[in-house]
Each structure stands twice: as structure tokens, then as C-alpha cells.
Symmetry: C2
Subunit: 231 residues, 2 copies
């Protein structure tokens, strides 16, 4: 902790997060040299992902050290955090001291609710991208978006691309390329349905219909968070 | 458990595994309809990954139900399992009843040590691919390899491609495509260094040199496991 040359990266580990939003970047960050990765939550109990995986925090809000990089993943549990002042205050406090303030997937909406994306270009999961504007951010339809010291990734699996970009920004290209080769990150998706841009129209409609109730619930939370910020 | 229409998928969660080998496929499998995903280890204590993430098993060797799909991830902890008869017996027992016997990364070497890849085409992490031959498998330099009911993925991040292929095989293409769009799996690696095929020669040498001690330790374990199988 007192080794000032060690880079400290903290990922928020919250109930009902989408675990791959966190585990993808963790795998990349934890391979960087002279780096300590923290999994942060309010207490030390196992945190259960939206699909039932239990992961243990390594630090709490009270014991979390100063972070060089703070990263907020997403997932349905994000909705409850949009008005959770304890979490938003924690994020604000650490972001003010961090070199990079980052998110994956709908974690960007939490950053927005904390008032940290006002006037910044940002991205999030494609199905919620428009909601960033309600929080004063400028939505950008891209996989990874950097604007000054904010770096945001798109949906779920973008976390791997995002984290390699963050590592390149901090440690240089060679370190990121080394990690990419070690992780054999040479993706070959079996289908081209990974984006609204490439998915068939009927598949896109199917997924939009399935997601509609969640997206509406999220939108209402975003609207309330935007009102709170103005208040 | 008694719902015979529910598909049961079990992932081995072992000490010093590479967590993304497991968490990538978990994220895909857990999104499939009418599916229960199990994280299996000898006991219920948290299991620590090679880079310090603690994940909780959901079932033990004793309580694990019959599996439709068994999946063995990889990572340095794989080396100790190559001669761990308790684990190899568990894998053999469940594989005999499973519809699909699968692995990600160096999990293929564990399947091989259990005698389950003899005469099968298979793949694993690029840096250990040749070791499959010592266990009687036919190494194939591909991201995902299917031979009869064995499906093996290459290194770490291949687990996502692998899992989408498994889901397509079980549930059909539409389900896999739906999950791919939900996970926004439209990868854009920031570099082209994810494979020995595409990485620069000096980078490849750098990574090979770094990995050499681990690969040699692994090779000795593979040689011993091959001898045990013959014995």
C-alpha cells in the first residue's frame, strides 16, 4: 500500500452486477506489472452476480486505498445504485483522486448519476446508450470511448477491449500486447450478431422486446438520478 | 434437479485456475434458457484464482448432480490436478454420463490426463498445444475444436467463442446469437497481437521466454500423467 510505484486499480463489485463486466477487465489488469487490483464493496460478504456467481470483495468502502484507476462495471444491479448516496459518494471521492475514471457497460450510468460524466463523451451497452444524454454525457456509439481522463466501454464483453486500452494508456502498448498474446485474445465469434449494426433485424427486434421492461426500469432510474443531480 | 428438461452445465472451479477461462463461459451458459450452471469443487470454501480472485463453488464433488455438459477450465493450478486422482476420477465419472465433454485453455490437458482425449482432435492454449499429443490427443491449431462429443477451446478468451459454439450446438443458432447480441460480443481488440500467427516476432519471443519455466513445469506434469495413463 505504501509502495508509491505500485499502480492501484479498483473495480466496484456490487450485487446483481454482470460478472463478466468485471472479470474480463480484472483478468487484463491483474496481469499488468507492479499492479494491485481491488474488488470493492460496502462489506466483505460474497457478492452475487445477476446470474448467481458469488465473488468475494477484497476491500470495503472503508478500507479501500487511494486508486489510480477506478472502474465501475454494469448489470441490472446498477439500477439500485443510481440513487444510493453511499455508493455515489464513494465513487465521487475516489474519482477526484484517480488518474482514470472508467466504466464498462451500464456502469457508465452510475458514473453519470454520480455527476462524473457531465460534458464528457461516453459509451455504454447499446440498448441503454441514449440514457447517457439524460445525465449530461454525450453518447458515442463506439466500443471504447476516451474523453480526457474518462474511459468508458460498451456492453459486457467490451470490457476486455476496454481494459487492454487502459493498460496501453498506463503502461504502453508493449505491455498491453504482451497481455493480449498471453490471453490468446484473437477473437473469432461464431456469428456476426454481436452488435445492432451487424445483427439481423428480427434478432435485434427479439432482443429489444426481451430487454424492454429492464430498459424502461433503468430509464426511470436514470431520469430520477438526473433530477437528483439538478436538485 | 429433478426437472429433466433443465440442462445442467458444470464448470470445474479449482485453485489457481485462470478465472476468465471459467467466467467467460459462465456468462454465456448462464444466459441460456432453462439451464442451471454449477461451479464445482471438492469443498465449499472460496477458490482463489491464479491472480487472486475468490469465487465460491455452488456444489461439491459429492453434491454435484448429473451434468449434460462438463467443462474444465485451465490455468497454472491445472498442473497439480494432472496427478490428482480424486479430481480425475470425478471428471471421468461425470464425463461418462455427459452429452458434451469440454474444456477451455489448459483444461484440455486435465481432460487428457483423465484419459478422455485419447484419439480425439483437441486444442488448448497456443503455448502448450504440442503437449496434447503426449496424452494421445491430436492437437489442432484452431480457436474451437469439436470432435464427436468433445469440444475444446484455445487460450483464456477463446472461452467466449467456445461457449457460444456449445450453446449453438445444444440450443440452436438463434439462442447463441441472442446471447451474443445481449453481451455485445462484437470484439475490437486494440492490437493484432492475440495469436502467435499475428503477433510481432519480438513480442512472441518475449512472451515465450516469460512463459518458458511454467511451460516446462507443465510439460513434466504432462509427461508424468501420460506415464500414469499407460501404467
Amino acid at each position: 500500500m505504501t509502495d508509491s510505484s505500485c499502480i492501484s486499480i479498483g473495480l466496484l463489485l456490487f450485487p446483481a452486477l454482470t460478472q463478466l463486466d468485471l472479470t474480463g477487465p480484472y483478468e487484463v489488469f491483474a496481469r499488468a506489472p507492479n499492479t494491485k487490483v481491488h474488488l470493492i464493496w460496502k462489506n466483505s460478504e460474497p457478492v452475487i452476480s445477476d446470474r448467481g456467481m458469488a465473488i468475494l470483495p477484497t476491500v470495503t468502502f472503508d478500507t479501500c486505498p487511494k486508486l489510480d484507476v477506478i472502474c465501475i462495471p454494469g448489470g441490472p444491479g446498477q439500477i439500485d445504485l443510481m440513487e444510493d448516496e453511499e455508493t455515489l459518494s464513494f465513487i465521487r471521492h475516489h474519482s477526484a483522486q484517480s488518474k482514470l475514471v472508467t466504466s464498462v457497460c451500464t456502469g457508465a450510468l452510475i458514473l453519470g448519476a454520480a455527476g462524473l460524466l457531465q460534458g464528457y463523451k461516453a459509451t455504454t451497452h447499446w440498448a441503454s446508450l441514449d440514457q447517457l444524454a439524460l445525465l449530461g454525457a454525450e453518447p458515442v456509439n463506439a466500443r471504447v470511448v476516451r474523453d480526457r481522463n474518462r474511459i468508458t466501454g460498451a456492453g459486457v464483453t467490451s470490457g476486455i477491449d476496454f481494459a487492454l486500452s487502459v493498460v496501453a494508456a498506463i503502461y504502453g502498448d508493449n505491455v498491453a500486447q504482451n497481455i493480449q498474446l498471453n490471453m490468446e485474445y484473437d477473437p473469432e465469434p461464431p456469428f456476426t450478431s454481436g452488435s445492432p449494426r451487424t445483427a439481423a433485424a428480427d434478432l435485434l427486434k427479439q432482443v429489444k422486446d426481451q430487454l424492454a421492461p429492464l430498459i424502461e426500469k433503468r430509464r426511470l432510474a436514470t431520469v430520477r438520478a438526473a433530477a437528483n443531480k439538478m436538485g
